[in-house]
C-alpha cells in the first residue's frame, strides 16, 4: 500500500491511499500489459463468512484530512501497512495535534501496534522502561518482526507548509 498527501497553492488538498494489498499483490504479472494484479480478495479472510460479486473488501486504508474549525490549519495525512495503518495514523495525529510534537517528530516516533489478538507490539527502539511499565499493567507484549507502518503527511499552518514522508520507507517530500 502507498499513501500520498498533496496540498496545492489554492488550498485544495488530496489524501489518497492506493494498494495491490500484499507485497506484489497476487504475484501475477500480466505479460502483455506489464501490470501486476492485486490480491485484494484476501482482505475478506477472517472478516467475512461469505462474499458477493461487486462487494468491496474491508480495509484499514483511511486517507484523512483534518481542518481546524477556523480553517487556519489543515493536516492531510494517511498511511500504509495493512492493519497497522489504524494505530500509525492515530498515533501520528495524537502526537502532533495534542502532544506538541512536530509533524516529523510525530510520524518518526516509534509506534505501538495492538494486533488482532490484542497483544501489544512495540517497534524496535521503543523505550524499554515504558514496555516494562505496560507489562506490569497487564498487557501481553509480543515481539513482532515486521513493522510496515508508513505515514506521509502535509500540513499548513500560519501560511507555512510542513511536509513529511516516512523514513521507514525511505520517503521524502517535496514542495515549493
Amino acid at each position: 500500500t502507498t499513501h500520498i498527501s498533496v496540498l496545492a497553492a489554492d488550498g485544495s488538498a488530496v489524501s489518497v491511499t492506493s494498494t495491490i494489498n500484499h507485497i506484489f499483490g497476487s504475484f501475477v504479472l500480466s505479460r502483455r500489459t506489464g501490470i501486476i494484479l492485486n490480491n485484494e480478495l484476501e482482505d475478506f479472510c477472517g472478516r467475512a463468512n461469505s462474499i458477493s460479486a461487486g462487494e468491496q473488501p474491508p480495509s484499514s486504508m483511511a486517507p484523512t484530512i483534518l481542518q481546524s474549525k477556523d480553517r487556519k490549519k489543515i493536516l492531510v495525512i494517511g498511511g500504509s501497512g495493512g492493519s497497522m495503518i489504524t494505530t500509525a495514523i492515530a498515533q501520528s495525529v495524537m502526537n502532533h495535534l495534542w502532544l506538541g510534537k512536530s509533524l516529523k517528530g510525530a510520524i518518526s516516533e516509534k509506534v505501538v501496534f495492538v494486533d488482532a489478538q490484542n497483544s501489544v507490539n512495540f517497534e524496535p527502539g521503543f523505550q524499554q522502561s515504558l514496555i516494562e511499565e505496560m507489562r506490569t499493567r497487564g498487557h501481553i507484549i509480543k515481539g513482532r518482526e515486521f513493522f510496515l507502518n508508513v505515514v506521509n503527511a502535509v500540513e499548513k499552518e500560519h501560511g507555512c507548509i510542513s511536509a513529511f514522508s516516512d523514513y521507514r520507507k525511505k520517503g521524502m517530500a517535496a514542495g515549493y
Binding site: 488530496v14 500484499h22 506489464g34 484499514s60 484530512i65 492493519s83
Partner: protein
C-alpha cells in the same frame, strides 16, 4: 552597427540580470517567510523523493492537487511496485479550495465468477497469499479518471508523460524495493513467478541496488492509456490483453467485470474532534476506527504535559486500551452496499465517552471485554 550591437547585448545582459535578481528575491522572500524545511506554496508527500518531485512539478506547471496526486501515484507504481499499481484500487479524499470534501473510491471488487469456496482457502497464519483466485476487479484507473474529470486542470496525457519516460528509460533500483527483492522469503517467490521477467536478470538472479529498473511493456500500456483514456484499460485492447493473461494464469476475471466496474463518489464522513474536523472516507475504509481511538484519547485532555514524568506511561496505557476497544469494532468494517449496518456510533463522541469510562488507569481487561473477534492481521 558595432555600437548598436554592443548596446543590444548590454540591454539583453541587463534584462537577464534583472530577471535573475527578481527570481532570487522571490525565492529568498518565500524562504524567509517559511524558514527551515517548510514551504510557502504547496507540497507533496509520497513514498519516494522521485515521486514527490514529479507531483511537485505538476503543481508548479499549474496542475491541481488531484493532477499532482495522479502523477505521483503513477510514479509510485514504478518505484514501489510491491505496494501499488494499475492492477489495484485507490481511495481519494479530496478537499476543494472552498473546503468541500468528497471521497472517490475505486477499491477493488469481487468479480462475478469468483470461486465459491474461496474463503475456505484463507491462510490460518499471517503470510503472503498469492494466486489468481485472489484478484479483485482493479479500479485504480477509473478512480483516477473520475478524480481527474472532477478536479483535473492539466490534460490527462500530460500526467503520464514523466512516468512513461521513466518506465522506458529506466532508473536506478530503489533501495527499499531492493530490500524486498533480496528478502529471504520474497526472493524465491519472485524468482519462481512471472514477476521475474521484471525484477530478475536473465540468469534469474533478482535485481539489486546498482541495477537499472525498466518497464518496457508497462510503458507501452501507459502510452495507450495516456492517449485513449482510462477506458482503454476497461474496454479496449489493454482490457483484452489483461483478461487473457489473468485467465491463462487460472483467474476468473472477465471483460464484463472490467467493463462494469463502478467508481463510488460520496461525501466524506466528518467527525468533530475538539477544535478539528476530521474528514474520512466511508466504510469499508478504516477511518471510523481511527476516529474512535482519537475521540477516546481527546477526552483524556491530552497536552504536552501528558508526556511529562509518569504521565507518559499513563498516556501510553490509555492509548493501548483505546486501540483494543477499536479492534473490538473491526468486524463492523464492511461494505455498506452489501452489509447495511449503522456504525455511526463509532464516530460519535458519546460512544467514545462510554468506552473511556471503561478504561482503568492501572490495569487492563481480558480480551473478551473488548468485544474482540479473533482474526488475523493484514499487512498490505
Amino acid at each position: 552597427m558595432g555600437k548598436e550591437r554592443r548596446r543590444l547585448v548590454c540591454v539583453c545582459c541587463g534584462l537577464v540580470v534583472a530577471v535573475v535578481a527578481v527570481l532570487l528575491i522571490i525565492v529568498c522572500v518565500s524562504r524567509s517567510k517559511c524558514p527551515g524545511e517548510r514551504f510557502s506554496h504547496a507540497a507533496v508527500a509520497a513514498d519516494s523523493l522521485r515521486c514527490s518531485n514529479i507531483g511537485r512539478d505538476i503543481l508548479l506547471e499549474g496542475g491541481s492537487a488531484v493532477d499532482a496526486a495522479i502523477s505521483a501515484l503513477l510514479c509510485t507504481a514504478l518505484v514501489n511496485p510491491q505496494s501499488m499499481g494499475l492492477g489495484g484500487g485507490a481511495i481519494f479524499t479530496i478537499m476543494d479550495s472552498s473546503g468541500k470534501v468528497k471521497v472517490i473510491s475505486s477499491r477493488e471488487t469481487v468479480p462475478k465468477n469468483f470461486r465459491q469456496d474461496l474463503l475456505q482457502h484463507c491462510p490460518k497464519t499471517v503470510k503472503l497469499t498469492t494466486g489468481p483466485q485472489w484478484i479483485g476487479v482493479p479500479g485504480e484507473l477509473r478512480g483516477y479518471a473520475r478524480a481527474h474529470a472532477l478536479y483535473g486542470k492539466l490534460p490527462w496525457a500530460r500526467l503520464f508523460e514523466p512516468i512513461i519516460k521513466l518506465a522506458r528509460d529506466g532508473f536506478p533500483m530503489p533501495e527499499y524495493l531492493a530490500q524486498f527483492l533480496q528478502h529471504k522469503f520474497i526472493k524465491p517467490m519472485v524468482q519462481n513467478s512471472s514477476l521475474c521477467e521484471l525484477f530478475c536478470h536473465k540468469n534469474k538472479t533478482v535485481l539489486g541496488v546498482g541495477d537499472t529498473l525498466r518497464y518496457p511493456k508497462l510503458a507501452d500500456t501507459l502510452e495507450i492509456i495516456a492517449k485513449q483514456g482510462a477506458e482503454a484499460f476497461y474496454t479496449g485492447q489493454v482490457a483484452q490483453d489483461l483478461i487473457r493473461d489473468v485467465q491463462e494464469a487460472g483467474g476468473q476475471l472477465s471483460l464484463e467485470d472490467l467493463e462494469s466496474f463502478e467508481v463510488r463518489v460520496d461525501e466524506a464522513r466528518t467527525v468533530l474532534l475538539g477544535e478539528y474536523k476530521m474528514h474520512i472516507p466511508p466504510l469499508p475504509a478504516g477511518g471510523a476506527m481511527i476516529s474512535l481511538i482519537l475521540n477516546i484519547m481527546h477526552g483524556f485532555g491530552l497536552s504536552p504535559a501528558s508526556l511529562q514524568g509518569n504521565q507518559t506511561a499513563l498516556t501510553l496505557h490509555r492509548y493501548i486500551e483505546a486501540a483494543k476497544f477499536a479492534n473490538g469494532q473491526r468486524m463492523k468494517i464492511k461494505d455498506p452496499h452489501y452489509s447495511p449496518q449503522n456504525v455511526d456510533n463509532m464516530m460519535d463522541s458519546s460512544f467514545a465517552d462510554e468506552v473511556r469510562a471503561m478504561i482503568r488507569d492501572h490495569s487492563t481487561h481480558p480480551a473478551s471485554f473488548y468485544n474482540i473477534t479473533p482474526s488475523t492481521d493484514r499487512f498490505g
